[in-house]
């Protein structure tokens, strides 16, 4: 038993890696559910788009990344931020519009970023990220550092010209870029089965001369393995890959969405497919992790998010002196 724990098969995570992945997914889930609850109280300004249900995607991909690598995100970006290492406490303060936030209250939920961690920002423009990732991948290629760029985008963005242009450019320039299409079934309230004329987003890869694969987005291990292959291929000069991750988001498009367009898929997904439930069951059944270790993570994450909310509520808002700063590096 100890032998198998210490020697996972190639490409698989050891116990520590599994626990990290669980902590990340759990942090995203608790963060989003808490934002959902707090938003309902009216204290959080603006729009928020929650990532709950999709945790396996950000976590499965980002667990392969390091400081050389960069990601671009979407308006549903909290999960990507947490998975790429942005501090959840600063994120929560940002969502509350506070001076202590990741962006000093100037960005908000849709623009949380940490360039020092290679997180190019959640992005309020659907399809805004893929061109940027062509650039970060180009930079990694020019700098010859083995880095990759990962563009997360949704089924809606898969129909944007920017995304399609970027797939083409990445292939033409043979960039170390990974395009992760997070297909949660809906662009706002429009079903992807209606709006995506190709039957799978992954099918479009063939038209751009790159591999396209579909993975079960509720399954951390499926995402982790596929992303690992795509990323190591890119690092070795093999070029870009399109990965379509299919799943369901647990909350509406934004907080306040009544979701009249949906049937009972969320209840089914939460019950039968949930990435955290399945992860926990499988790593304990296989003997890789003890339940108690996961319970410890659960309570640590709960405490972290609790203090993030407490700190965010108590933090000062930016003031008039902050209004006109940070437009330029030099004036």
């Amino acid at each position: 038993m100890t032998e198998t724990l210490s020697t996972p098969a190639a490409g698989e995570l050891n116990a520590e890696g599994l626990l990290d992945a669980y902590r990340t997914m759990r942090t995203i889930r608790v963060f989003e559910e808490r934002v959902h609850d707090e938003f309902a109280t009216g204290e959080i300004p603006g729009f928020v788009h929650l990532y709950a249900g999709e945790e396996a995607s950000a976590t499965g991909v980002c667990s392969h990344l390091d400081a050389r690598d960069s990601i671009a995100s979407t308006h549903r970006g909290h999960g990507h931020c947490i998975a790429k290492g942005v501090d959840p406490v600063e994120m929560m303060a940002e969502i509350y519009g506070k001076r202590t936030g990741s962006c000093h209250g100037k960005g908000g939920s849709m623009h949380i970023a940490d360039l020092s961690k290679g997180m190019l920002g959640a992005n309020g423009i659907v399809g805004g990220g893929p061109p940027l990732i062509c650039g970060t991948a180009l930079a990694a290629k020019q700098q010859n550092n083995g880095g990759v760029g990962v563009a997360f985008f949704g089924d809606g963005a898969s129909n944007q010209g920017t995304t399609l242009e970027s797939l083409n450019l990445a292939s033409v320039w043979n960039l170390p870029a990974i395009f992760v299409a997070e297909n949660n079934g809906y662009a706002e309230a429009t079903a992807s089965t209606w709006s995506v004329a190709a039957d799978n987003i992954a099918d479009r890869a063939a038209g751009f001369g790159m591999p396209g694969v579909i993975v079960d987005g509720f399954d951390f291990f499926a995402v982790h393995e596929a992303a690992g292959e795509a990323i190591s291929r890119a690092r070795e000069g093999g070029g870009p890959t399109l990965i379509e991750v299919k799943f369901t988001r647990y909350f509406g498009h934004f907080e306040g969405d009544q979701q009249a367009y949906r049937a009972d898929e969320v209840a089914n997904a939460r019950d039968k497919l949930d990435c955290l439930k399945r992860f926990r069951a499988r790593v304990t059944e296989s003997g890789q992790l003890e339940s108690s270790a996961l319970d410890t993570v659960d309570s640590e994450v709960a405490a972290l998010i609790e203090s993030a909310v407490t700190e965010a509520k108590a933090a000062p808002k930016p003031t008039g002196v902050d209004l006109e700063t940070d437009v330029y590096v030099s004036y």
Binding site: H104, H111, I125, P131, G135, Q142, S166, V327, V329
Partner: protein, 337 residues
């Protein structure tokens, strides 16, 4: 030392010197080398007007041809800039901003503010603007005022080979996103340009000519039109102070106000269409900040509120010329209540 070269050569020299100086400088654009994937010679074009000619062989791997995908490659330049590169992307015609504006104004321009001052995006987007080559409505516009309205962008309109070289070097070394607008009718214009590298700071107007009677502020190619007008005016005894702000963002408001405080009269010459352009911007500035100094109404010489026409007969009417500047200036100088 200074020798006489063309605007095109000055730009090419700035790119070459900056690429030598800093290995993070790369250039990209449609046919920036020219001939990618084609059976003939590499570096067949060096850009559609030859500005990047010769760089492809001198800097292997650093001059990138692109597909005709402005959103993707302008975005890629921006993305690369966030990761330690200093890309110079060529948006062939400024008119094509319509197909990639999101990456410029929603991404590059806003990163620094949106991310709480923690982003640095040193990207340069070189682009060709202006009328005069019978290129018609979709290849002739002077759209720099649109970029000027966007906080986070710096906008450069070089008026001579000397300005072109020094301002491009500054644009590349600058840590903010810069839109570098080259007038397509000026590539063959010649002037004295030092061989050595130099930079011209942004936000500092050039005093093209000194005079006491009237201030003429002109942008880009209109600077030479204004200078020609000033020569003609001098013959009739009117001494014009001709200012070239060099950059529309930042704008050297101080030099403009200083000049108007001295002359009491203002003419602004802008090749852009008349609504919400640099002429209205400068006029508003002076009306607000130097109202007391004004001795006459402000005149604006601009293109008409129309698309750029094709026929030479119409296009010649469209573009502000020295005679219109002379007429406007005389009306200001001779104005009486």
């Amino acid at each position: 030392m200074a020798r006489t070269i063309s605007y095109r050569e000055a730009l090419n020299e700035a790119l070459r010197q900056e690429m030598h100086r800093d290995s993070s400088v790369i250039v990209m654009g449609e046919d920036n080398a020219g001939g990618a994937g084609a059976p003939g010679a590499d570096d067949a074009w060096g850009g559609v007007l030859g500005v990047t000619k010769g760089l492809y062989h001198e800097f292997p791997g650093r001059v990138l041809d692109t597909p005709i995908s402005e959103s993707a490659f302008v975005g890629a330049a921006i993305g690369a800039a966030t990761r330690g590169m200093r890309p110079v992307a060529e948006l062939m015609f400024i008119d094509f901003m319509g197909v990639c504006f999101d990456q410029i104004f929603n991404q590059a321009a806003k990163f620094r503010y949106m991310f709480g001052g923690k982003a640095v995006t040193p990207v340069v987007i070189r682009t060709m603007y202006g009328a005069g080559l019978r290129a018609a409505a979709q290849h002739s516009q002077s759209l720099y005022p649109i970029f000027t309205t966007v906080p986070g962008l710096k906008v450069v309109v070089p008026s001579s080979p000397y300005e072109a070289k020094g301002l491009l070097a500054q644009a590349i070394r600058d840590d903010d996103p810069v839109i570098f607008c080259e007038h397509k009718a000026m590539y063959d214009a010649v002037g004295e340009v030092p061989e050595e590298s130099y930079t011209i700071p942004f936000g500092e107007a050039n005093i093209v000519r000194e005079g006491e009677d009237v201030t003429i502020v002109a942008f880009g190619r209109m600077v030479s039109v204004a200078a020609q007008a000033a020569d003609e005016l001098a013959a009739s005894g009117v001494q014009a102070d001709v200012l070239d702000p060099r950059t529309t963002s930042p704008l050297d408001t101080e030099s403009i106000l200083e000049s108007v405080e001295n002359t009491g009269r203002l003419v602004v010459v802008d090749e852009a269409t008349p609504r919400c352009n640099l002429a209205t911007d400068v006029a508003a500035l002076v009306a607000k900040e130097a109202f007391g100094a004004l001795r006459a109404p402000i005149e604006m010489v601009t293109a008409p509120h129309t698309p750029v026409p094709f026929s030479d007969a119409l296009e010649d009417l469209y573009i502000p010329d020295a005679q219109r500047v002379v007429n406007a200036t005389k009306s200001v100088v001779q104005w009486q209540r």
